[in-house]
């Protein structure tokens, strides 16, 4: 059986054009973009071209983009950099209950350094109320960080309204858009944010490259101090091969975005209907309307996620779960708990993500195998027997 990948969010397959561009770059043996000789100049031109393509993807100006190694670095840079730059103004940071760990952990680090933090709660669909952010603002608030779309349940936040509040109060606003950039249209000017994180492996680009949009005039300490690359904003010799790949992925993604979204919505509908028709006792997580088109989070009652993933893996189908056992930390997903899922249901949650190459046949086969898997595991479950 052909392998079916329904865990795109962990890593997208590279577009053929991206692979070619990277292979050609490897063969070329570019120099270091910071060198003053010809070898370096050629490399610098490649980076410049890639930067322009990436900037177009989010309607930014190229000099507002820096390249990082991943979404996590972008988030760490934005949060620590913005907080430290404004430390004399205040030490209060606002975030939400459902951020990714690469936002929550830097904020935890800030706490150990004497910062105060407020985490805004979300409703049952995972949405933040702009009013709650407003209420949380204090005189010493220096940073607000709210993600654009959640990577576990797909809910999209009212960023434009939240950013407007931040602008009025003159507070730096960061948006973790790692799950959104390359999937849905993002216009940084329309959103009105100061900082925006993204990563190439979410839109058919290579892992190991990400980016941070830094609005002109935003105060920000570097995360990586060093050789002055990226216009003194991020030290370190650039991942040229990866950046070239990211540039190519950005260009193609922008061109194809509309047709991709149509396809993704069709797949989502087929999956949703398939789940409802074939499996009882399920819960869809996330907002029915404000939601990523390429993600479904499904809680399947009475059974546990890792065992579902293993059984599907036996049939060459890859999906992801947010169960405690699978997370290695033995704690359930903070996102699912924040939206009100109880522990048992949170344990049986699958996160299904797909892309432009996912076919209807893939979905049908997945649904067929999933139904068998659920039946088998439920027969084994003490919770199902109790019901």
């Amino acid at each position: 059986m052909n392998p079916i990948n329904l865990d795109y969010i962990s890593s997208n397959p590279l577009l053929p054009e991206v692979k070619n561009a990277m292979i050609e770059a490897i063969k070329k043996d570019y120099g270091n973009p910071s060198s003053a000789h010809q070898l370096g100049e050629e490399a610098a031109v490649e980076i410049k071209n890639a930067r322009e393509k990436v900037a177009k993807l989010i309607t930014a100006s190229p000099d507002e983009i820096i390249f990082t190694s991943c979404g996590t670095e972008s988030n760490n840079h934005a949060i620590k950099g913005a907080a430290f730059a404004k430390k004399d103004k205040g030490k209060h940071v606002i975030t939400s209950d459902i951020e990714h760990n690469s936002v929550l952990k830097p904020i935890r680090t800030l706490r150990t350094l004497g910062y105060d933090t407020t985490s805004v709660s979300v409703d049952q669909f995972g949405r933040v109320k702009p009013d709650d952010v407003l209420k949380a603002i204090r005189d010493d608030t220096v940073l607000i960080s709210i993600m654009h779309a959640n990577n576990e349940i797909g809910t999209i936040q009212p960023i434009k309204e939240i950013a407007q509040i931040a602008r009025e109060k003159k507070i730096t606003i960061h948006c973790d858009a790692v799950s959104s950039v390359g999937v849905v249209p993002i216009d940084v000017h329309d959103l009105g944010i100061d900082l925006l994180s993204f990563a190439a492996n979410q839109f058919n680009g290579p892992s190991g490259v990400g980016g941070l949009y830094i609005r002109k005039g935003t105060s920000l300490w570097p995360l990586l101090d060093g050789g002055g690359q990226e216009n003194k904003r991020r030290g370190g010799t650039e991942n040229l091969i990866g950046i070239i790949g990211m540039g190519m992925a950005s260009e193609i993604t922008l061109k194809e975005m509309d047709s991709r979204i149509k396809h993704l919505k069709r797949i989502k509908e087929r999956l949703t209907n398939g789940f409802k028709e074939n499996i009882d006792d399920i819960i869809f997580n996330g907002h029915p309307e404000y939601s990523l088109p390429n993600l479904i989070s499904l809680s399947i009652k009475y059974i546990e996620g890792e065992s579902i993933v293993l059984m599907l893996d036996e049939e060459n189908i890859a999906v992801a779960t947010k169960s405690a056992c699978a997370s290695g930390s033995l704690r359930a997903s903070h996102v699912l708990i924040a939206i009100g899922r109880d522990y048992a249901d949170a344990q049986g949650t699958l996160v299904i993500t797909y892309g432009r190459d996912t076919t209807e046949n893939d979905i049908d086969r997945f649904l067929e195998v999933l139904k068998k898997t659920v039946d088998t595991l439920r027969k084994m479950s003490p919770l199902y027997q109790k019901k």
Partner: protein
């Protein structure tokens, strides 16, 4: 991640089900840490004549339940009491570090079922089993953090100091 033996027991679990009118029932675990096991036994001549399991849990949990019931079936009660989390893990050709607590649960469920049978035989009232909400088991790795707000907790604490939620942390390794 898992050994061949674990995968075999996961894909082809032995003794799935529930014995009606069982002589002993052992229920352990809870949904908070994601593993629950129920073992039922039929005893004759001080031996485990039949044994079945129901499990809500990951691949390791299912494999452990299957292995534990296979190891215990047909054994005398004394022999079955000697089955430990180590012997189960060994029989499965080892489990990854963060799954060792699953093997603990398997052995616990078996011993609880045996104890339940012995209590019945002695005319004792059935012991209250600890499967209620709020019981969170942790391993050294997870280091006893509140599953709701992630602040540190200590063994024996009945409620989280920070968020106030009722929870009991017990060392499971």
């Amino acid at each position: 991640m898992y050994s061949k033996t674990v995968m075999d027991h996961f894909k082809n679990p032995r003794n799935v089900g529930e014995i009606q009118g069982a002589d002993g029932v052992g229920e352990v675990g809870n949904p908070i840490c994601g593993d629950m096991m129920k073992i039922t036994i039929k005893v004759a001549n001080d031996s485990i004549k039949d044994i079945k399991f129901l499990t809500f849990g990951c691949g390791a949990a299912i494999a452990v339940s299957s292995m534990v019931t296979e190891m215990a079936k047909g054994k005398t009660l004394d022999e079955a009491k000697k089955i430990s989390k180590e012997s189960v893990a060994q029989a499965l050709e080892d489990l990854p570090m963060n799954k060792l607590h699953c093997s603990n649960l398997g052995a616990d469920a078996l011993h609880m079922a045996i104890k339940d049978y012995e209590n019945h035989k002695a005319g004792k009232v059935k012991e209250q089993q600890d499967t209620t909400e709020g019981y969170h088991c942790y391993t050294e790795e997870a280091s006893g953090r509140c599953p709701y707000c992630d602040s540190e907790m200590h063994t024996g604490e009945k409620a989280c100091a920070l968020c106030g939620r009722k929870i009991e942390i017990k060392l499971s390794m």
